[in-house]
């Protein structure tokens, strides 16, 4: 059996200095980062009152709750829950549509190729940013103060918070649009509105439709939770059943949400493909 020659460490060290003599900063960067991350983590655990006893009692409680949840059973409230689910879907659909309708004109103001002046674009963008910075649940609380408890407040909450997101996404879609078609309209004597209607909208509409569909999908999830603060839909029922500890109802409601979300995902996936898929290929 042949033997490899004994490595000459000194020579190797000289040959590959950046492997053997890495500067201390490079060698220590990773461990230091991990140590810092861990230190913050431990500080967090202490500061947030984590304790093993609390954790163990909590987990045993949770196990007990899970046992109580099986089997899922709506009792006699099934029609009520179906109605609440319909309400949730209605909230998502209406809220998203309303947001899209409101956001379209505003997004024109935020797009660079329509409004070249920074003076208008900048405040519009910051305005949209700050709307987006506030969570849907907070908007729901605000609207409950204005129009009272119920699903209508939920619709408006989703409409306002998506208005911010749509404004940004639409304006990006508009900025990505091709300039040539707009120039063509102008060359044939169209005014500014004609340019937008015939030059720009046909390009951006499919993109926008895809985004709206995606948001209807994700808003089905949002709409399930805004009920927790009193803005209607299935979340309201869920929060109530959790508060009165009706665990079988709770698990049934969660199951309903899971199924509804899966169905909406499926439908909107198909529709999105039908709208964008063709255009993307063409």
């Amino acid at each position: 059996m042949s033997q490899l020659p004994k490595p000459n460490t000194g020579e190797l060290r000289e040959k590959y200095p950046d492997v053997f003599d890495r500067p201390a900063s490079a060698r220590l960067a990773m461990p230091a980062m991990i140590a810092a991350a861990l230190a913050v983590f431990v500080f967090g655990l202490v500061d947030l009152d984590f304790s093993p006893t609390k954790l163990i009692t909590g987990i045993s409680q949770l196990g007990w709750i899970t046992m109580m949840m099986i089997p899922p059973n709506p009792g006699s409230s099934f029609p009520l829950y179906m109605q609440a689910l319909g309400e949730t879907l209605s909230i998502a659909l209406l809220g998203t549509t309303l947001a899209a309708v409101m956001a379209l004109p505003v997004s024109l103001l935020a797009a660079r190729n329509i409004i070249p002046s920074n003076l208008i674009r900048f405040p519009v963008r910051r305005f949209l940013d700050s709307i987006r910075g506030i969570d849907t649940l907070i908007w729901a609380l605000v609207w409950i103060n204005v129009v009272g408890l119920g699903p209508f407040a939920g619709v408006l909450a989703i409409a306002v918070s998506d208005f911010g997101a749509f404004g940004k996404l639409f304006s990006e879609a508009i900025e990505a649009a091709d300039r040539k078609q707009v120039e063509g309209i102008r060359a044939s004597g169209g005014n500014a509105l004609h340019e937008i209607r015939f030059g720009l909208l046909p390009q951006v509409l499919p993109v926008i439709a895809g985004q709206v569909l995606y948001f209807i999908e994700s808003n089905t999830r949002s709409a399930t939770i805004i009920g927790i603060v009193g803005a209607g839909g299935i979340g309201l029922q869920l929060a109530e059943q959790i508060r009165v500890l009706e665990w079988q109802h709770v698990s049934f409601l969660i199951l309903m949400i899971l199924i509804a979300v899966a169905v909406i995902d499926f439908i909107s996936g198909k529709l999105r493909f039908a709208i964008i898929g063709q255009r993307a290929v063409a």
């Binding site: 991350a37 913050v40 983590f41 967090g44 655990l45 500061d47 947030l48 009152d49 984590f50 609390k54 954790l55 009692t57 909590g58 987990i59 409680q61 949770l62 709750i65 319909g86 309400e87 879907l89 209605s90 909230i91 659909l93 209406l94 549509t97 940013d129 700050s130 910075g133 506030i134 969570d135 649940l137 907070i138 609380l141 605000v142 609207w143 103060n145 204005v146 129009v147 009272g148 119920g150 699903p151 209508f152 939920g154 619709v155 408006l156 999830r221 399930t224 939770i225 927790i228 603060v229 209607g232 869920l238 929060a239 959790i242 500890l245 709770v250 969660i254 949400i257 899971l258 979300v261």
Partner: protein, 294 residues
Amino acid sequence: MATAVSTLPAQQLAALNDAYRKAVARKRLKATLAVAVFCAALLIAALGAEVNLRTLFTYFGNFVSYFDRILTLDSGARVWTNPVEWFWGWKKWLKLLGETLLISYVGTLIGAVFAFALNFFAAQNTSPAPWLRFVVRRLLEFARTVPGIVFALIFVIAFGLGPMAGVLAIAIHSTGALGKLFAEIVENADMKPVEGIRSTGASWLSCMRFAVLPQVSAGYASYALLRFEINVREASVMGFVGAGGIGQELVVAIRKFYYSDVSAILVMVIVTVFIIDISTGWLRARLFGKETRR
């Protein structure tokens, strides 16, 4: 400048127009049908959601004046004329904001660790057994689809009121979301190093550690940072159900009509979210920049 555009003879024009109209009519019919179906769905939805336009018109003034009110101090002056009074509770609020950040940090880290432990089982190319992959995938899906705040509601009952419920809710939701993304990264990883390591007789664990992990760790870090950003927003509303953080204070201020407090807390939340967005964006650019340079 007047220019004459020459037009075709009427007969030729009529034939062309006719063909054009036919081509357009089909498209129009389809579009009209789609719009009609959509409008019908909206109408049904409007009935279901108890939309009442009269309420909206009557109370829309309230919405506008609500913002007027939250920007007015008790003394009647605008909030920005007296920032000391506007942010009178800044010490308490900053402490709660810190708690919110800690909740999202600890929650994200726990979630990332669990996602890290589970993702190799969920990825198609590394999972040791198909049934295990199926189970882990369904588990992650469940954790991802149930909204975080629903977990928080249940955990508040199991673990008691306080930030611990919020942390665990965020941790579970992050496990689901990150587990899926991590598994996708692993599925995109190059499998040749794995074969190399396996050919030396290494176990499954060593294969993951020495062949897959070096390829995917940067992607993991990037997604975890992105999740942290999302979780900061989520943690700011955890207080609504009693799971700690600034949300508690905010919901009290909104429900009890402490108008100027609402705007002060909202401003602090927005600024914090903004700062976190920018700094994680910067950090991610640095992490990824370093990786590509190597």
